[in-house]
């Protein structure tokens, strides 16, 4: 356990030694702040009209849900870039042998690496959450729905990261890992579109789609199906990564 934390904290600190983590945090925060403010402006413009409608969407629906939805899409683009170096770079720089010859298991290595990079993404999710929380100064929020959105993005990020980690474990080059991760994630993201285009919907595709489960959670409906989907998704890719790193010793 302590080994996992050692590796995770090293990974996390290394991210902040390079400009990478700072750049990602700064740029994402700028982009999302812009989207957030546009959304807030839209709300102030249509607020008088909304007041006349019964059961109209509130501040949370108009500002918070789109913000987290956009954050999900942006993270779909950014996570592969963050995770691509995890194992791949270690192997290329031959530093992997340091970890492999130390008295730590491959499980420790993979989970440590995973938690390290997840730390950065969690920080990102917290920073995003500060934006809607700032609305509390001047208005009221549906805090339950905000929590649901927060949970949805959190689970989405854990799933994205596990896919990135797996691709980084099997790929020979970081760009290949990034491209592979992006491909898998985007496919799973848009799987739902093809299903909804026809009249007959494919239940399998709908079930596999990341977007569908993400939106279910975002709507405030916290169902165990969606949560277990994300947890299973994450666990599968982590197990595959451990397996693949073990295989690394068997053949070369």
């Amino acid at each position: 356990m302590s080994m996992i934390l050692t590796i995770a904290s090293r990974e996390f600190k290394s991210l902040f030694i390079s400009p990478l983590a700072w750049t990602v945090l700064a740029i994402l925060q700028c982009l999302l702040a812009y989207l957030f403010l546009t959304q807030v402006e839209t709300f102030t413009l249509i607020q008088p009209k909304l007041a006349t409608i019964d059961g109209a969407p509130g501040l949370t629906d108009i500002v918070v849900t789109p913000l987290y939805g956009n954050a999900g899409i942006i993270l779909l683009l950014v996570t592969p870039l963050l995770t691509m170096r995890l194992i791949c770079e270690e192997r290329r720089n031959k530093t992997l042998s340091l970890l492999l010859s130390a008295p730590i298991s491959t499980v420790d290595i993979i989970i440590g690496k995973y938690l390290g990079i997840l730390g950065l993404l969690l920080l990102l999710v917290f920073l995003i959450t500060l934006m809607p929380l700032s609305l509390l100064i001047g208005g009221g929020l549906d805090l339950g729905k905000l929590a649901a959105n927060f949970l949805a993005l959190l689970l989405l990020v854990t799933a994205f990261t596990s896919t990135g980690l797996f691709m980084s474990t099997i790929a020979g080059h970081p760009t290949v890992a990034a491209m592979g991760t992006f491909g898998i994630l985007l496919l799973l993201w848009i799987l739902d579109w093809s299903a909804s285009m026809n009249d007959q919907r494919s239940e399998l595709f709908e079930y596999l789609s990341l977007l569908r489960h993400f939106q279910n959670l975002q709507s405030g409906l916290i169902s165990s199906i969606d949560i277990s989907y994300f947890l299973l998704f994450t666990a599968t890719f982590i197990l595959l990564s451990i397996r693949s790193l073990n295989n690394h010793r068997l053949q070369k």
């Binding site: 080994m3 050692t6 590796i7 090293r10 290394s14 030694i17 390079s18 720089n93 031959k94 530093t95 992997l96 042998s97 340091l98 970890l99 492999l100 010859s101 130390a102 008295p103 730590i104 298991s105 010793r249 068997l250 053949q251 070369k252």
Partner: protein, 308 residues
């Protein structure tokens, strides 16, 4: 006492290619084992298997009594490994890196600072503690690699070509360090430089095409090297049959007109006899130089033996 390393019938295949074929040996405390061989002989593959980086195709490795496959963490606890490319995180400073390595190897928290200082001192890294590894010269990087391997005071230290890229003074320091460490650890050292083995090792193994063809103590190696040669130049053409008759001379090669190479066995050094004969016969001795045996000579002799 128990062996620190016991390797039993180790084999490794890459596809159909057999890189290491049925290698068995043991290493006891206080031994420095030199692993010699030309490029591609299987040295690095063996080292990687010993350090747990590569799973053997068949065979067993025990480190300090623990099987490397069944109890990898216990076995690796007594292992320090320097691969052929030192595994360094270039974005860290020397101190940060060694600290991290100490944590990875499970050095107790309150002794980490001590262990790091000790390793830095032994490898002469005191002056560069706070510099980034990326900015260090190749020699210093190599030393950081060695520091990393001896940091946690392991029983077994495996060094894969530790003196590559070092200047002659550093090489001498590292060899001294290896001899020092060898007193209370077991060390395996791979190299393709014969003098390195002669200077720092107590035992030597030669590997060729994945097979151990020679496994002896240093005295045994010297025994195997008991043939020497002389390069002789004379003014007039000598009669080789007379020289060949001198006791101890094994064979004579003609290099140039008046230049000969005389091979002899060290047990019966005929150098003085040869010089006296040449002068007595009036061939006028111009040069008499002992030719140092190189790794290649021994190697060729041994491989020829093993093929026979």
């Amino acid at each position: 006492m128990a062996n620190l390393i016991a390797v039993d019938h180790l084999c490794r295949y890459y596809g159909k290619y057999c890189a290491v074929n049925d290698v068995s040996f043991t290493l006891a405390k206080g031994e420095v084992l030199g692993f010699l061989g030309p490029n591609g002989a299987g040295k690095t593959t063996t080292m990687q298997m010993l350090s747990g980086n590569l799973a053997p195709s068949s065979g067993q490795i025990k480190i300090n009594g623990f099987d490397l496959l069944d109890q990898p963490n216990k076995a690796k606890r007594s292992l320090g490994y320097l691969p052929d490319t030192p595994p360094l995180y270039k974005e860290l400073s020397v101190d940060e890196f060694l600290h991290y390595c100490a944590q990875l190897h499970g050095v107790a928290k309150n002794t980490i600072a001590n262990a790091v200082n000790n390793a830095k001192e032994r490898c002469g890294l005191g002056t560069v503690s706070h510099r980034l590894i990326a900015n260090l010269s190749k020699g210093f990087q190599q030393r950081v690699g060695i520091a990393q391997a001896i940091l946690h005071n392991p029983d077994v230290i495996i060094l894969d070509e530790p003196t590559v890229g070092l200047d002659p003074i550093q090489i001498r320091e590292i060899r001294t360090l290896i001899r020092e460490l060898g007193q209370d650890h077991g060390i395996i050292l791979s190299t393709h430089i014969l003098t390195e083995v002669q200077e720092s090792c107590s035992h030597v193994q030669i590997i060729h095409q994945g097979q151990l063809i020679f496994s002896e103590s240093i005295a045994g190696l010297n025994q195997a090297m008991n043939t020497g040669s002389l390069q002789v130049t004379t003014r007039w053409t000598p009669d080789t049959s007379v020289l060949r008759a001198i006791p101890g001379v094994n064979s004579i090669e003609n290099i140039a007109d008046n230049q000969l190479r005389i091979h002899y066995s060290a047990a019966n050094d005929p150098t003085r006899h040869i010089a006296e004969t040449i002068i007595a016969k009036g061939w006028e001795l111009q040069e008499l130089t002992p030719v140092k045996k190189s790794m290649e000579d021994i190697f060729i002799a041994l491989t020829r033996d093993s093929e026979r």
